[in-house]
Protein backbone atom coordinates (compact mmCIF):
# COMPACT_ATOMS: atom_id res chain seq x y z
CA UNK A 1 0.00 0.00 0.00
CA UNK A 2 1.57 3.28 -1.01
CA UNK A 3 1.62 6.37 1.18
CA UNK A 4 -1.17 8.09 -0.76
CA UNK A 5 -3.58 5.14 -0.27
CA UNK A 6 -2.67 4.93 3.42
CA UNK A 7 -3.34 8.64 3.88
CA UNK A 8 -6.65 8.35 2.03
CA UNK A 9 -7.77 5.33 4.15
CA UNK A 10 -6.76 7.08 7.37
CA UNK A 11 -8.55 10.27 6.39
CA UNK A 12 -11.73 8.35 5.42
CA UNK A 13 -11.79 6.50 8.75
CA UNK A 14 -11.39 9.78 10.67
CA UNK A 15 -14.25 11.40 8.70
CA UNK A 16 -16.43 8.27 9.19
CA UNK A 17 -15.74 8.27 12.92
CA UNK A 18 -17.40 11.71 13.19
CA UNK A 19 -20.61 10.42 11.59
CA UNK A 20 -20.57 6.93 13.08
CA UNK A 21 -23.55 5.94 15.17
CA UNK A 22 -22.88 5.76 18.86
CA UNK A 23 -24.76 2.50 19.30
CA UNK A 24 -26.07 -0.27 17.04
CA UNK A 25 -29.07 -2.45 17.70
CA UNK A 26 -28.22 -6.00 16.67
CA UNK A 27 -30.99 -8.59 16.39
CA UNK A 28 -30.26 -12.30 16.81
CA UNK A 29 -32.59 -14.08 14.38
CA UNK A 30 -32.91 -17.70 13.30
CA UNK A 31 -35.16 -20.76 13.42
CA UNK A 32 -36.33 -22.22 16.77
CA UNK A 33 -33.73 -24.16 18.78
CA UNK A 34 -30.78 -22.78 16.79
CA UNK A 35 -29.24 -21.46 20.01
CA UNK A 36 -30.12 -17.75 19.81
CA UNK A 37 -30.64 -17.26 23.53
CA UNK A 38 -27.55 -19.34 24.35
CA UNK A 39 -25.46 -17.05 22.13
CA UNK A 40 -27.13 -13.91 23.54
CA UNK A 41 -26.31 -15.18 27.05
CA UNK A 42 -22.72 -15.95 25.99
CA UNK A 43 -22.23 -12.42 24.58
CA UNK A 44 -23.83 -10.66 27.55
CA UNK A 45 -22.00 -12.87 30.08
CA UNK A 46 -18.65 -12.27 28.36
CA UNK A 47 -19.05 -8.49 28.21
CA UNK A 48 -21.42 -7.48 31.02
CA UNK A 49 -21.54 -10.50 33.35
CA UNK A 50 -25.34 -10.88 33.04
CA UNK A 51 -27.71 -13.34 31.42
CA UNK A 52 -30.40 -12.23 28.96
CA UNK A 53 -32.94 -15.09 29.03
CA UNK A 54 -33.82 -18.68 29.91
CA UNK A 55 -32.77 -21.59 27.68
CA UNK A 56 -34.80 -24.75 27.11
CA UNK A 57 -34.93 -27.71 24.76
CA UNK A 58 -38.64 -27.04 24.14
CA UNK A 59 -39.00 -24.95 20.96
CA UNK A 60 -40.17 -21.34 21.37
CA UNK A 61 -38.86 -20.88 24.91
CA UNK A 62 -38.22 -17.25 23.93
CA UNK A 63 -41.59 -15.77 23.05
CA UNK A 64 -40.84 -12.10 23.52
CA UNK A 65 -37.84 -10.13 22.28
CA UNK A 66 -35.34 -9.46 25.08
CA UNK A 67 -32.84 -6.65 24.92
CA UNK A 68 -29.57 -6.03 26.70
CA UNK A 69 -28.23 -2.52 26.18
CA UNK A 70 -24.77 -0.97 26.02
CA UNK A 71 -22.58 -3.99 25.37
CA UNK A 72 -19.09 -2.82 24.45
CA UNK A 73 -17.33 -5.44 22.32
CA UNK A 74 -13.61 -5.21 21.59
CA UNK A 75 -11.90 -7.24 18.89
CA UNK A 76 -8.35 -8.63 18.86
CA UNK A 77 -7.02 -5.42 17.22
CA UNK A 78 -8.47 -3.22 19.96
CA UNK A 79 -11.37 -1.82 17.91
CA UNK A 80 -14.65 -1.49 19.79
CA UNK A 81 -18.33 -1.32 18.98
CA UNK A 82 -21.18 -0.57 21.36
CA UNK A 83 -24.30 -2.60 20.66
CA UNK A 84 -27.71 -3.43 22.08
CA UNK A 85 -28.37 -7.15 21.69
CA UNK A 86 -31.95 -8.15 20.90
CA UNK A 87 -32.71 -11.84 21.40
CA UNK A 88 -35.78 -12.72 19.31
CA UNK A 89 -38.21 -15.67 19.21
CA UNK A 90 -37.43 -18.41 16.68
CA UNK A 91 -38.72 -17.58 13.22
CA UNK A 92 -40.86 -20.20 11.57
CA UNK A 93 -43.70 -20.39 9.05
CA UNK A 94 -45.85 -22.74 11.12
CA UNK A 95 -46.48 -22.99 14.85
CA UNK A 96 -48.57 -25.88 16.10
CA UNK A 97 -49.29 -26.53 19.77
CA UNK A 98 -49.22 -30.33 19.15
CA UNK A 99 -45.41 -30.14 18.74
CA UNK A 100 -45.10 -29.03 22.37
CA UNK A 101 -47.22 -31.83 23.84
CA UNK A 102 -44.40 -34.39 23.49
CA UNK A 103 -42.34 -32.34 25.97
CA UNK A 104 -44.84 -33.17 28.72
CA UNK A 105 -46.75 -29.89 28.95
CA UNK A 106 -50.55 -29.74 29.09
CA UNK A 107 -52.72 -28.92 26.07
CA UNK A 108 -53.78 -25.54 27.51
CA UNK A 109 -50.16 -24.60 28.19
CA UNK A 110 -49.17 -25.73 24.69
CA UNK A 111 -51.91 -23.64 23.06
CA UNK A 112 -50.89 -20.60 25.11
CA UNK A 113 -47.23 -21.20 24.20
CA UNK A 114 -48.13 -21.40 20.49
CA UNK A 115 -50.15 -18.18 20.66
CA UNK A 116 -47.42 -16.28 22.49
CA UNK A 117 -44.80 -17.62 20.09
CA UNK A 118 -46.86 -16.42 17.10
CA UNK A 119 -47.20 -12.96 18.64
CA UNK A 120 -43.46 -13.01 19.34
CA UNK A 121 -42.57 -13.83 15.72
CA UNK A 122 -44.86 -11.02 14.50
CA UNK A 123 -43.16 -8.63 16.92
CA UNK A 124 -39.66 -9.75 15.89
CA UNK A 125 -40.51 -9.26 12.21
CA UNK A 126 -41.78 -5.76 12.95
CA UNK A 127 -38.53 -4.98 14.76
CA UNK A 128 -36.58 -6.15 11.73
CA UNK A 129 -38.48 -3.63 9.67
CA UNK A 130 -37.85 -0.60 11.83
CA UNK A 131 -35.57 -0.99 14.80
CA UNK A 132 -32.68 -3.25 13.86
CA UNK A 133 -29.34 -1.96 12.50
CA UNK A 134 -27.69 -5.34 11.94
CA UNK A 135 -28.41 -9.06 12.22
CA UNK A 136 -26.69 -12.08 13.68
CA UNK A 137 -28.41 -14.96 11.89
CA UNK A 138 -28.14 -18.24 13.82
CA UNK A 139 -28.23 -21.64 12.18
CA UNK A 140 -27.84 -25.10 13.65
CA UNK A 141 -24.88 -26.66 11.81
CA UNK A 142 -26.31 -30.16 12.34
CA UNK A 143 -29.36 -29.19 10.26
CA UNK A 144 -29.89 -28.61 6.54
CA UNK A 145 -29.16 -24.91 5.85
CA UNK A 146 -31.53 -24.90 2.85
CA UNK A 147 -34.55 -24.72 5.14
CA UNK A 148 -37.28 -22.53 3.74
CA UNK A 149 -37.17 -20.12 6.68
CA UNK A 150 -33.39 -19.57 6.31
CA UNK A 151 -33.64 -18.77 2.61
CA UNK A 152 -36.57 -16.46 3.26
CA UNK A 153 -34.96 -14.62 6.17
CA UNK A 154 -31.59 -14.12 4.46
CA UNK A 155 -33.50 -12.77 1.45
CA UNK A 156 -35.42 -10.32 3.65
CA UNK A 157 -32.25 -9.20 5.46
CA UNK A 158 -30.49 -8.65 2.11
CA UNK A 159 -33.46 -6.75 0.68
CA UNK A 160 -33.41 -4.42 3.69
CA UNK A 161 -29.64 -3.93 3.19
CA UNK A 162 -28.85 -4.85 6.80
CA UNK A 163 -25.32 -6.02 7.64
CA UNK A 164 -25.39 -9.69 8.66
CA UNK A 165 -23.09 -12.22 10.29
CA UNK A 166 -24.20 -15.84 9.98
CA UNK A 167 -23.36 -18.05 12.94
CA UNK A 168 -23.05 -21.81 12.35
CA UNK A 169 -23.81 -22.94 15.89
CA UNK A 170 -23.45 -26.29 17.71
CA UNK A 171 -20.04 -27.20 16.24
CA UNK A 172 -19.41 -29.18 19.44
CA UNK A 173 -21.88 -31.85 18.22
CA UNK A 174 -20.41 -34.79 16.24
CA UNK A 175 -22.74 -34.43 13.23
CA UNK A 176 -22.14 -30.69 12.79
CA UNK A 177 -21.18 -29.64 9.24
CA UNK A 178 -20.65 -25.84 9.28
CA UNK A 179 -19.15 -26.02 5.74
CA UNK A 180 -22.67 -26.70 4.40
CA UNK A 181 -23.81 -23.31 5.73
CA UNK A 182 -20.73 -21.60 4.26
CA UNK A 183 -21.49 -23.24 0.91
CA UNK A 184 -25.15 -22.21 1.06
CA UNK A 185 -24.48 -18.52 1.84
CA UNK A 186 -21.05 -17.67 0.41
CA UNK A 187 -21.97 -13.99 0.10
CA UNK A 188 -21.95 -13.50 3.90
CA UNK A 189 -19.39 -14.14 6.66
CA UNK A 190 -20.16 -17.51 8.28
CA UNK A 191 -18.60 -18.11 11.70
CA UNK A 192 -18.66 -21.65 13.15
CA UNK A 193 -19.09 -21.48 16.95
CA UNK A 194 -20.30 -23.46 19.91
CA UNK A 195 -22.27 -20.97 21.99
CA UNK A 196 -22.70 -23.41 24.85
CA UNK A 197 -18.95 -24.14 25.14
CA UNK A 198 -17.75 -20.73 24.03
CA UNK A 199 -15.71 -22.27 21.21
CA UNK A 200 -14.50 -19.80 18.54
CA UNK A 201 -16.54 -16.88 19.96
CA UNK A 202 -13.47 -14.60 19.69
CA UNK A 203 -13.65 -15.03 15.91
CA UNK A 204 -17.33 -14.05 16.09
CA UNK A 205 -16.52 -10.91 18.12
CA UNK A 206 -13.86 -9.91 15.55
CA UNK A 207 -16.40 -10.34 12.76
CA UNK A 208 -19.10 -8.47 14.66
CA UNK A 209 -16.80 -5.46 15.18
CA UNK A 210 -15.77 -5.57 11.49
CA UNK A 211 -19.32 -5.90 10.18
CA UNK A 212 -21.32 -3.68 12.52
CA UNK A 213 -18.79 -0.92 13.25
Amino acid sequence: MDILTQTKTGFTSIIKSFFRKKRYRIGIYGPPNAGKTTLANRITLDWTGENIGAVSEIPHETRRAHRQSDICITDSRGHTVIIDIVDTPGVTTKIDYKEFLEYGITKDEAILRAREATEGVAEAMHWLREDIDGVIYMMDSTQDPFMQVNIMMIGIIESRKLPVVIVANKIDLPDAVPQRIRGAFPQHPVIPVSSIEGKNVEDLYDNMVRTFR
Partner: protein, 133 residues
Protein backbone atom coordinates in the same frame (compact mmCIF):
# COMPACT_ATOMS: atom_id res chain seq x y z
CA UNK B 1 -43.12 -28.16 2.17
CA UNK B 2 -44.13 -26.81 -1.22
CA UNK B 3 -43.63 -23.34 -2.65
CA UNK B 4 -45.62 -21.72 -5.39
CA UNK B 5 -44.39 -19.22 -7.96
CA UNK B 6 -46.09 -15.88 -7.36
CA UNK B 7 -46.26 -15.14 -11.10
CA UNK B 8 -47.32 -18.36 -12.84
CA UNK B 9 -48.41 -20.55 -9.90
CA UNK B 10 -46.05 -23.47 -10.60
CA UNK B 11 -45.33 -25.54 -7.48
CA UNK B 12 -41.86 -26.56 -6.29
CA UNK B 13 -40.69 -28.68 -3.38
CA UNK B 14 -38.69 -27.19 -0.53
CA UNK B 15 -35.27 -28.22 -1.82
CA UNK B 16 -35.85 -27.43 -5.48
CA UNK B 17 -32.94 -25.50 -7.04
CA UNK B 18 -35.51 -23.35 -8.88
CA UNK B 19 -36.18 -21.54 -5.57
CA UNK B 20 -32.73 -19.95 -6.02
CA UNK B 21 -32.31 -19.85 -9.77
CA UNK B 22 -35.86 -18.77 -10.63
CA UNK B 23 -39.02 -20.43 -11.94
CA UNK B 24 -38.60 -22.81 -14.88
CA UNK B 25 -41.75 -21.48 -16.53
CA UNK B 26 -41.57 -17.72 -16.13
CA UNK B 27 -38.16 -16.99 -14.54
CA UNK B 28 -39.69 -15.21 -11.53
CA UNK B 29 -37.72 -15.47 -8.28
CA UNK B 30 -40.66 -14.73 -6.04
CA UNK B 31 -42.26 -17.74 -4.37
CA UNK B 32 -44.68 -18.13 -1.57
CA UNK B 33 -45.04 -20.93 0.88
CA UNK B 34 -48.13 -23.15 0.76
CA UNK B 35 -48.83 -25.17 3.87
CA UNK B 36 -49.89 -28.79 4.01
CA UNK B 37 -53.46 -27.72 4.88
CA UNK B 38 -53.69 -25.58 1.75
CA UNK B 39 -52.59 -28.59 -0.29
CA UNK B 40 -55.19 -30.81 1.38
CA UNK B 41 -57.88 -28.21 0.81
CA UNK B 42 -56.95 -27.96 -2.86
CA UNK B 43 -57.13 -31.73 -3.20
CA UNK B 44 -60.55 -31.70 -1.52
CA UNK B 45 -61.72 -28.96 -3.89
CA UNK B 46 -60.62 -31.02 -6.90
CA UNK B 47 -62.40 -34.09 -5.50
CA UNK B 48 -65.58 -32.08 -5.03
CA UNK B 49 -65.49 -30.78 -8.56
CA UNK B 50 -64.71 -34.02 -10.39
CA UNK B 51 -68.07 -35.87 -9.92
CA UNK B 52 -69.98 -32.78 -11.05
CA UNK B 53 -68.00 -32.59 -14.26
CA UNK B 54 -68.42 -36.30 -14.96
CA UNK B 55 -72.15 -36.12 -14.41
CA UNK B 56 -72.53 -33.24 -16.80
CA UNK B 57 -70.34 -34.84 -19.43
CA UNK B 58 -68.53 -31.63 -20.36
CA UNK B 59 -65.88 -29.39 -18.87
CA UNK B 60 -67.89 -26.21 -18.51
CA UNK B 61 -67.82 -24.70 -15.10
CA UNK B 62 -71.20 -23.97 -13.50
CA UNK B 63 -70.96 -20.97 -11.16
CA UNK B 64 -74.50 -21.48 -9.86
CA UNK B 65 -73.68 -24.85 -8.37
CA UNK B 66 -73.03 -24.30 -4.63
CA UNK B 67 -70.53 -27.19 -4.52
CA UNK B 68 -68.51 -25.58 -7.29
CA UNK B 69 -68.75 -22.20 -5.62
CA UNK B 70 -67.27 -23.63 -2.47
CA UNK B 71 -64.52 -25.28 -4.46
CA UNK B 72 -63.70 -21.96 -6.11
CA UNK B 73 -63.60 -20.11 -2.79
CA UNK B 74 -61.20 -22.69 -1.36
CA UNK B 75 -59.06 -22.49 -4.51
CA UNK B 76 -58.95 -18.69 -4.27
CA UNK B 77 -57.85 -18.88 -0.67
CA UNK B 78 -54.96 -21.21 -1.47
CA UNK B 79 -53.77 -18.91 -4.26
CA UNK B 80 -53.75 -15.60 -2.38
CA UNK B 81 -51.21 -15.19 0.43
CA UNK B 82 -53.02 -12.14 1.82
CA UNK B 83 -52.96 -12.91 5.52
CA UNK B 84 -49.85 -12.40 7.62
CA UNK B 85 -51.06 -14.87 10.24
CA UNK B 86 -53.53 -17.60 9.40
CA UNK B 87 -55.25 -19.31 12.31
CA UNK B 88 -55.90 -22.95 11.45
CA UNK B 89 -57.29 -23.74 14.90
CA UNK B 90 -56.56 -22.36 18.39
CA UNK B 91 -52.86 -23.04 18.93
CA UNK B 92 -52.06 -23.74 15.26
CA UNK B 93 -50.88 -20.89 13.07
CA UNK B 94 -49.35 -20.36 9.66
CA UNK B 95 -47.17 -17.28 9.37
CA UNK B 96 -46.38 -15.34 6.22
CA UNK B 97 -42.95 -13.97 7.11
CA UNK B 98 -42.69 -11.66 4.09
CA UNK B 99 -46.07 -10.16 4.85
CA UNK B 100 -45.20 -9.64 8.52
CA UNK B 101 -42.08 -7.67 7.57
CA UNK B 102 -43.57 -5.67 4.73
CA UNK B 103 -47.05 -4.94 6.06
CA UNK B 104 -47.85 -1.74 7.95
CA UNK B 105 -50.15 -3.76 10.21
CA UNK B 106 -48.72 -4.63 13.55
CA UNK B 107 -50.18 -7.61 15.39
CA UNK B 108 -50.00 -7.03 19.11
CA UNK B 109 -52.12 -9.87 20.43
CA UNK B 110 -54.06 -12.85 19.15
CA UNK B 111 -57.35 -13.78 20.80
CA UNK B 112 -58.71 -17.30 21.26
CA UNK B 113 -61.48 -16.69 18.74
CA UNK B 114 -59.03 -15.81 16.02
CA UNK B 115 -59.42 -12.03 16.12
CA UNK B 116 -56.38 -9.75 16.14
CA UNK B 117 -55.47 -6.70 18.17
CA UNK B 118 -53.53 -4.13 16.20
CA UNK B 119 -51.40 -1.20 17.30
CA UNK B 120 -53.09 1.57 15.30
CA UNK B 121 -50.75 4.36 16.41
CA UNK B 122 -47.66 2.56 15.12
CA UNK B 123 -49.39 2.10 11.76
CA UNK B 124 -50.25 5.79 11.44
CA UNK B 125 -46.79 7.04 12.40
CA UNK B 126 -44.20 4.52 11.27
CA UNK B 127 -40.79 5.27 12.68
CA UNK B 128 -38.30 6.43 10.06
CA UNK B 129 -34.93 4.72 9.90
CA UNK B 130 -32.08 7.15 10.29
CA UNK B 131 -29.60 7.12 7.41
CA UNK B 132 -26.15 8.25 8.37
CA UNK B 133 -24.29 7.51 5.15
Amino acid sequence: MPHKCLKCGKEYDEKSPELFSGCRECGSRKFYFIGELSRTEKKVSDDIRRPVLKKRGNYEYDNRNPVNERAEIIKDRTHSPIESIRIIEPGSYELNIHKLVESDDRVVRLNDEGSYMLDLISMVHPKKRKKWF
